[in-house]
């Protein structure tokens, strides 16, 4: 078994590199799936990923589920990182990022557990990474496929943020709220830092990574209506999302690192 040499990384989140488990030898792509109460849907997503020709290492971040999400994922051979409490979508993603950094993955794909993101689009995201992109955003709007039904207000919000991100980064982004993304190790290094938004990491993260000199690309992906469960953008939360994103974007340039964050 190849055991990686001792890491020189001394940051808190990477105190050591653990030996590569046998089941992922030769797998350099990590798929991070944040999930909260997605039993009955997550198994389809994992099976879809496993049917791909690419060798993927699947990590499900169980964000405080009270159903069988964890058991289903483990039964299919995925590694499950379980939050003791629900910490939010962004925090769940970040746990996956930290895992990726600790284990030294070079490429990462993140996708939803509810079946909206079609595993068939994963190779397209990885191809874009291989072409030199650091962050690949999968857009549902660039594709004639079935876009999930959304309300007028959510479409409007999405358009507004798309315009802001496109103007700010200089890269044509049509779907800034897409959670179907791929990242290079340089991006992983950035997002694994403590300071990644816990709640809704979307447009602000895209702008921030672009400002760090990372290369953004958007590719068309296939999305489906969710298989069930509840959207996290429901009711008043959508309004909070709008407020939070505007606040985050407005203060992006003058923002300072919080002294309350961990020292990684």
């Amino acid at each position: 078994m190849p055991i990686p040499p001792p890491s020189s990384d001394t940051s808190v989140d990477a105190p050591h590199r653990i030996p590569v488990p046998r089941h992922r030898v030769g797998r350099d792509v990590l798929v991070v799936i944040p999930a909260c109460n997605e039993a009955g849907r997550i198994d389809k997503v994992i099976r879809g990923l496993q049917s791909l020709p690419a060798a993927l290492h699947i990590v499900v971040v169980d964000d405080g589920s009270t159903d069988n999400t964890r058991e289903e994922a483990r039964a299919l051979g995925a590694v499950v990182l379980r939050h003791p409490f629900n910490l939010g979508y962004g925090a769940a993603l970040q746990t996956g990022y930290i895992y990726a950094r600790r284990h030294g993955f070079a490429r990462l794909v993140q996708m939803d557990a509810d079946g909206q993101h079609d595993p068939e689009s994963v190779p397209a995201l990885l191809d874009a990474l291989d072409d030199g992109a650091d962050l690949v955003v999968g857009s549902r709007f660039q594709n004639p496929g079935v876009a999930p039904a959304t309300t007028f207000l959510r479409r409007l919000g999405s358009r507004v943020f798309a315009t802001i991100v496109t103007m700010w980064t200089g890269v044509k982004i049509t779907d800034p709220t897409s959670g179907f993304q791929a990242m290079s190790s340089r991006s992983i290094e950035q997002v694994a830092r403590d300071g990644f938004p816990e709640d809704y990491p979307d447009a602000d993260v895209l702008v921030q990574l672009s400002k760090c000199g990372l290369k953004l690309v958007e590719v068309p992906v296939k999305m489906h209506p969710r298989l069930g469960g509840v959207s996290m953008h429901r009711g008043t939360r959508a309004a909070f999302y709008g407020y939070k994103m505007f606040m985050s974007l407005a203060l992006l340039r003058v923002r300072r690192r919080s002294p309350y964050r961990s020292a990684s």
Binding site: M1, I18, P19, P21, R22, V25, V61, V79, V80, L81, R82, H83, P84, F85, L87, A91, Q94, T95, I98, Y99, R102, D194, E198, S258, Y260, R261, S262
Partner: protein, 170 residues
């Protein structure tokens, strides 16, 4: 004499108002001090509460300060200034709590993430140990070129008596 004049309630603040303010202030002070005594409230969080009580008391007792402030702010009523003074400090208390909540949220998140990662790591290592104990058989590939010597039971893990190069603990 001067002190008496300074602390004598004169007509603008009516007695019931004064009594209410003092009762509220002293109750607040008593409760906060009692909570600190029982170590149910940390001194750092008690500080602004005590300030609130003191401001309320001072404004209630010192008519000169109260009237001066009222004139300055062209207030209609002395009572409004009295409670406005207390309100400012209560707002500071609320702000302090919001900041502390943010700090705790960050820390709680990080601690929870670490737990999740460590649990997964322990499971992975446990699986690894199980595989090694099983001699790397079954469907798994050979873990190492030279098979490690694994003690059959935990009791065999002892400090080797003979100092041989093979028994060296690496």
């Amino acid at each position: 004499m001067l002190l008496l004049e300074f602390f004598t309630p004169i007509d603008p603040l009516k007695t019931p108002q004064l009594v209410l303010a003092l009762v509220v202030a002293f109750s607040m002070l008593a409760i906060v001090l009692e909570l600190v005594r029982r170590q149910k409230l940390r001194e750092e969080y008690a500080f602004l509460w005590i300030c609130t009580a003191l401001v309320l008391t001072t404004l209630a007792l010192s008519t000169s300060i109260l009237t001066w402030l009222s004139d300055l702010l062209e207030a209609q009523s002395l009572v409004s200034i009295l409670y406005f003074g207390a309100l400012v400090f209560l707002m500071l208390v609320a702000l302090q709590f919001s900041v502390r909540l943010t700090k705790l949220t960050f820390r709680g998140k990080t601690v929870n993430q670490r737990i999740a990662l460590l649990e997964a790591e322990i499971e992975e290592l446990r699986d690894l140990v199980d595989d090694l104990k099983a001699g790397g058989s079954k469907d798994a590939k050979k873990p190492t070129e030279t098979p490690l010597e694994i003690p059959r039971s935990a009791t065999e893990i002892e400090v080797p008596k003979k100092k041989g190069p093979r028994n060296k603990v690496s």
